[in-house]
Symmetry: C2
Subunit: 83 residues, 2 copies
């Protein structure tokens, strides 16, 4: 089973990396990209000792994302579990 | 329209960040995560001057991902465009 966690800065937090990429795209003449936000992507490989039921695996991945992968002061996350 | 690009290190490239996270999870007693790969996530907001047709928007996002967001020597990417 695999889980994917996407961590981004909260909307209210300045995303300097994203703005740098957006500026670079403009200067390089890629048109039509009005905003870029950059975040982190985690791909977790889950083995047999992980909850095999998708519902409880999702709860466990949500806990890992919240407690370990995210700084809740400035970041938020989404995730999904592949059965 | 929004586009999402996920950049990860190639399988053959050592992912020190991912291994550090995997080790931390083990030490913190989160069971069942056998591997972690860490990558980058880009969320692009596309305005009206971007290709409005999904097929050509995808081709344009693929070009941006390949030419700007990814280092092809060590990284690979996936993407999807939200209509």
């Amino acid at each position: 089973m695999k889980a994917h966690v996407y961590v981004t800065l909260k909307r209210s937090v300045l995303d300097a990396q994203g703005q740098t990429v957006a500026g670079a795209l403009r200067r390089m003449n890629y048109k039509g990209v009005s905003d870029v936000r950059q975040g982190k992507y985690f791909q977790l490989t889950l083995d047999n000792s992980f909850s095999s039921d998708v519902k409880s695996a999702e709860a466990e991945v949500e806990r890992i994302a919240r407690e370990v992968l995210t700084n809740p002061v400035i970041e938020e996350f989404t995730y999904h579990v592949e059965a």
